[in-house]
């Protein structure tokens, strides 16, 4: 893996910080209490489930994942199910991360 250089860091940091600040501040000053357009509000609501699903899928799924046998690819999937259950039960990011790391470490040691 390549470590992130200061140049790469600065590009990512500045761009993300600017879009973030714009999203946080502009609606408050521009709308002055009026609602966002309904279509936009709907689209914004769909972004979190779509984005988090895409991130999870990117980490867990790969077309070549079963090439090395079933278990190396299935272990993270099983750990992911454990995390899902813990997350539903506790709604806690911290417990999910703890459960995920524990399950993943156990399953990959087997």
């Amino acid at each position: 893996m390549q470590l992130m250089s200061w140049t790469d860091f600065f590009i990512i940091f500045i761009c993300c910080a600017i879009t973030m600040l714009a999203c946080r501040v502009i609606p408050l000053f521009v709308l002055k209490g009026r609602n966002l357009p309904e279509g936009l509000e709907k689209a914004l609501g769909f972004i979190p489930p779509a984005a988090f699903a895409a991130l999870v899928a990117n980490d867990l799924l790969d077309p070549a994942m079963f090439d090395a046998g079933i278990w190396p690819a299935a272990a993270p999937l099983v750990a992911a199910v454990v995390v899902g259950l813990v997350a539903l039960k506790t709604k806690s990011l911290l417990w999910s991360a703890v459960a995920g790391v524990a399950a993943y470490a156990l399953l990959t040691l087997i």
């Binding site: 893996m1 470590l3 790469d8 860091f9 590009i11 990512i12 940091f13 761009c15 993300c16 910080a17 879009t19 973030m20 600040l21 999203c23 946080r24 501040v25 502009i26 609606p27 408050l28 709308l31 002055k32 209490g33 609602n35 966002l36 936009l40 709907k42 689209a43 914004l44 609501g45 769909f46 972004i47 979190p48 489930p49 779509a50 984005a51 988090f52 699903a53 895409a54 991130l55 999870v56 899928a57 990117n58 980490d59 867990l60 799924l61 077309p63 993270p76 750990a79 995390v83 899902g84 997350a87 709604k91 990011l93 911290l94 999910s96 991360a97 459960a99 995920g100 790391v101 470490a105």
Partner: protein, 211 residues
């Protein structure tokens, strides 16, 4: 408040694993200040995503802040511009929840809400810096650290409101990521998958509205 510390320390450790220094973690936490975003940057970097795709995906996820910003506009009516700006610039998912509840109970003001925001931001920033220092001191295996990130995203995913539209958005996003990877577009897979998911859900809710 404890939540910020508990998640900020692992976030700093992950930042350290892709080579971020304590100063970089400080800048990100203090000025960008986004939990999901700060987990996404190392995650997508490890996945080998191009910089443009990382920026676009992180920004896309952060557009939800527009909803919060719009929601607080009535409370900021008649408040000094500088205070409104500081307040708006420091809203997050968690402090949004706290402040919305306080405002709805009444007897709550923008300057007190801003104090809540700044306190959250400070605990987040300090924990991230501490995390980087811990990470560089003990060296955690990358596979384990990466799965901690995956776990955080799983938690954020399953705690969404499960309406049919949201489920469709998630499903299409998953399929979209997989298809992109099959085509060899692993760099922008997350961005393309997420956008496809949002489009599918919009099309579905539009068709339902007409049906």
């Amino acid at each position: 408040m404890l939540g910020y510390v508990a998640i900020g320390i692992p976030c700093g450790i992950l930042g350290d694993s892709i080579g971020l220094s304590a100063l970089q973690a400080f800048l990100l936490s203090a000025l960008f200040y986004s939990g999901a975003g700060q987990f996404m940057i190392p995650n997508m970097w490890l996945a080998g995503g191009p910089i443009a795709s990382i920026i676009a995906s992180v920004s896309l996820v952060n557009t939800r802040q527009m909803l919060y910003s719009a929601a607080f506009a009535p409370a900021c009516r008649g408040v000094k511009k500088r205070l409104s700006f500081l307040f708006a610039a420091t809203v997050t998912d968690e402090s949004y929840g706290v402040n919305v509840q306080k405002f709805s109970e009444g007897e709550w003001s923008v300057d007190r809400a801003t104090m809540v925001n700044l306190f959250s931001q400070s605990s987040w920033t300090i924990s991230n810096v501490v995390g980087v220092l811990i990470g560089s001191a003990i060296g955690i295996p990358l596979a384990i650290a990466a799965f901690a990130m995956t776990s955080i995203f799983i938690c954020l995913l399953v705690t969404q409101k499960w309406t049919p539209e949201n489920a469709l958005a998630a499903l299409v996003a998953i399929v979209g990521v997989f298809v992109c990877k099959m085509l060899g577009w692993s760099g922008p897979a997350i961005l393309i998958g997420a956008v496809l998911g949002v489009c599918a859900a919009l099309a579905f809710s539009w068709a339902k509205g007409r049906g």
